[in-house]
């Protein structure tokens, strides 16, 4: 891990505007955080805290009402930043008419990868997520766990420097969760910067270097896992989390 900031959010604000009365309610309220190169950062929070909105701002799917979001020194969503990131959305639903193989090929072509390079990368990633045998099945026949695995593979097709995963372990059985944890550990060992949201605190505790706790759009706490588990006076991450969210 180096001291270079790879992900920076400065004073992010985002409101939800009701469609009828145009009433504004805050989703993110002055959110600032930084993630350093090679770090694995877990964003925790109860439902509706603004975790997914944060990730969507960082990958450029939505724009903040105010504040700055930078990824690898570029404004979030800029093509130069997008070339170097990988994103897994929450509950991924892909193209039911495609096979897993065709889908990965499609994603690789969006990055303009060369045929040979793409083929090798696809084989490597299908192996990594354990989908080689099912790659030629239509995606409409995939279980939720298989879609999640394929989602992980597509997020890594461009060998990204920064990885954004939104609830990567949601809907997975214990074996699937273990596999995702292993993939995260491998990516971590390769020096990737990883930013992910999760409700599954034991998994976060195993993989993350640092966590932030988001409550009603505000970052109420941010600590390293080491500090929480050793010197923070908390039994585990769950106790830390519940204390911070006031549960």
């Amino acid at each position: 891990m180096t001291g270079v900031n790879v992900i920076e959010a400065r004073g992010l604000k985002k409101d939800r505007v009701s469609s009828f009365l145009l009433k504004r309610s805050p989703i993110l309220d002055d959110l600032s955080l930084t993630v350093r190169e090679g770090e694995t950062y877990g964003l925790l929070g109860p439902n509706g805290a603004g975790k997914t909105t944060t990730v969507k701002i960082l990958v450029g799917l939505i724009k903040p009402d105010s504040g700055d979001a930078l990824v690898l020194g570029q404004k979030a969503g800029e093509p130069e930043a997008l070339k170097q990131i990988g994103f897994l959305p929450e509950n991924p639903y892909f193209y039911s008419h495609l096979t897993g193989y065709e889908f990965l090929e499609f994603i690789g072509q969006l990055f303009a990868l060369k045929k040979k390079e793409l083929k090798e990368r696809m084989a490597e990633l299908l192996e990594l997520v354990g989908m080689t045998a099912d790659a030629n099945q239509p995606m409409r026949k995939y279980s939720k766990g298989m879609l999640q695995r394929l989602g992980i593979a597509q997020s890594l097709i461009n060998n990204p420097k920064v990885i954004f995963w939104d609830e990567p372990m949601s809907g997975l059985d214990p074996i699937g969760r273990r596999d995702v944890r292993k993939i995260l550990e491998r990516l971590k060992s390769e020096g990737k910067t990883i930013f992910f949201n999760s409700h599954l605190l034991p998994d976060v505790s195993d993989v993350c270097d640092r966590v932030g706790v988001l409550v009603k759009g505000k970052l109420v706490a941010e600590d390293s896992i080491k500090d929480i588990e050793r010197g923070g006076g908390y039994k585990d991450l769950e106790e830390y989390f519940l204390t911070k969210v006031g549960g």
């Binding site: 909105t53 969507k56 990958v59 450029g60 799917l61 939505i62 724009k63 093509p79 997008l82 070339k83 990131i85 994103f87 959305p89 509950n91 991924p92 639903y93 892909f94 193209y95 008419h97 495609l98 065709e102 499609f106 994603i107 072509q109 969006l110 990055f111 303009a112 597509q154 461009n158």
Partner: protein, 266 residues
């Protein structure tokens, strides 16, 4: 450098084409269109010596209408489906710009419509060959291919309209807007006639301005009629029509890209 611009467009086009041709509804439309075209044999047998003519006219009309329906429904669902299935998240977190997405989607549907028009055209020619006792296809093939090209040109325009509306409205509203403008496009000449007939200068100017803002597709139908009577339209008219339709398509796709560029995907 060029490949990084073109490859995503081609990938999106191929994906859209695959998605559309793997949809069973398309085949239902195709079978329906072929069945109605076959009905032309029955209608033709009621006429005196005009059976081939009736099959040709009915077949081309069916191709135009069914092709139009497929274009409207596939085009208006273009962006909505991606949003509904949340597949748009995967596309716009990759280095893909709005114009590449819109162009790729449009080209994918263009490929699909081309295949549909081609398949229905081949079916129509086969039917004529079967019915014509002399089997002299050279008498029909030229005018039918030219008419099919005109139908395809019109469908390219309808697709661009549907694509544009799909970027900011729901599929139902997009269908209504597209069908309305397509219909108005065939009545554009009447606006000009009405402005000439009006004695009020303000109404004249308004109607003329409306005529120039709205698409005029009546020329395409006129040229198709000329072709079916075995005559050749002038080169100037063909060049004008091509320029007119393609200018509209570029304008609509440009607008669609701009609208999509400003969109957020919550």
């Amino acid at each position: 450098m060029v490949s990084s611009v073109i490859n995503p467009v081609i990938a999106i086009a191929i994906n859209t084409f695959r998605e559309t041709v793997r949809d069973r509804v398309l085949y239902a439309f195709f079978v329906f269109a072929c069945s109605i075209t076959v009905l032309g044999i029955l209608l033709g047998s009621l006429s005196v010596g005009q059976d081939i003519r009736i099959i040709e006219d009915l077949g081309l009309t069916v191709i135009a209408i069914i092709g139009g329906i497929i274009s409207v429904f596939a085009g208006t669902n273009l962006v909505y489906k991606e949003l509904e299935r949340r597949t748009i998240y995967v596309i716009f977190t990759k280095p893909v710009s709005s114009w590449q997405f819109i162009t790729g989607k449009y080209l994918g549907l263009v490929m699909c419509i081309f295949v549909v028009v081609l398949a229905m055209g081949v079916f129509l020619l086969g039917l004529i060959w079967m019915v014509d006792p002399t089997h002299h296809m050279q008498l029909h093939i030229g005018s039918i291919i030219a008419s099919l090209a005109l139908v395809f040109l019109e469908l390219l325009f309808v697709l661009a309209l549907a694509t544009f509306f799909s970027t900011f409205s729901t599929p139902i509203m997009s269908v209504i807007f597209t069908l309305s403008l397509w219909f108005i496009g065939h009545l554009g000449g009447s606006l000009l006639d009405l402005s000439k007939m009006s004695s009020n200068p303000a109404a004249q100017q308004l109607l003329t301005a409306l005529y120039w803002c709205l698409p005029d597709l009546a020329q395409l139908t006129r040229v198709r009629s000329v072709l079916m009577y075995g005559k050749e339209p002038s080169q100037e008219i063909i060049i004008f029509m091509l320029a007119y339709v393609f200018a509209f398509i570029f304008f609509l796709l440009g607008l669609a890209s701009l609208v999509n560029e400003r969109r957020e995907f919550p």
